[in-house]
Symmetry: C2
Subunit: 107 residues, 2 copies
DNA sequence: CAGTATCCTGGGAGATACTG
DNA sequence: CAGTATCTCCCAGGATACTG
């Protein structure tokens, strides 16, 4: 279980996966814009880790200006239903507690 | 989504919830024994956070030696199905990759 | 656009010892 | 048994500037 949890550890991994799940393919800055408070440096790192774990694919187009697209792999898609449920559960929980997520937590 | 993920952030929260889910009520050291690599100090902290979020209850029995029991609340139980699925998914993932979780990750 | 390169800081977490 | 109390260290992550 610890091993499993470590897979999605890191403040942004879950969100990144969730965005790719709901928005489909996304480019670096597109993703970056959705994650206020996440620096490029950190975003790169989390993306690389997700790539290493085969959850996402990274496609580089040899054009100028550079274009790189990130997408879920088949493997990455397998966690989709769980993330959806988790998101629903969390939203419900916040509501039951009468809380509103802080600005930097709405991503 | 970030807000939701923060709820189960911290290396041990998910595991603690999972243990209480599958083992029922547990005492402090009982829990501690199941989590190699987690210091008492850290365990206390995570338990307090889970308590603050109303996921678990803490019952103190006024006896000598002290006896404290931790259990899931109704609220805590609502995340049960998700954790089970997550665990299954993670286990499957590790197998597909031909990996064995490291000793300190088997909890 | 999609990152690197540096520098730097806070607090997450370990180790050890102690106590009501 | 169920935690505190300290002290310490490390590195995840922030800020800023730069580049193919």
């Amino acid at each position: 279980m610890v091993a499993t949890l470590n897979l999605i550890n890191g403040r942004w991994k879950g969100v990144i996966l969730y965005y790719l799940l709901t928005h489909g393919t996304m480019r670096f800055n597109e993703l970056h814009r959705q994650l206020p408070g996440c620096t490029p440096r950190l975003l790169v790192k989390q993306l690389r880790e997700l790539e290493d774990d085969a959850f996402i694919s990274r496609t580089v187009y040899p054009v100028v200006p550079p274009k790189v697209e990130y997408a879920l792999t088949e493997e990455g898609r397998t966690i989709g239903p769980i993330l959806s449920q988790l998101n629903e559960w969390g939203t419900g929980w916040l509501e039951r507690r009468g809380l509103r997520p802080r600005a930097e937590e709405t991503a």
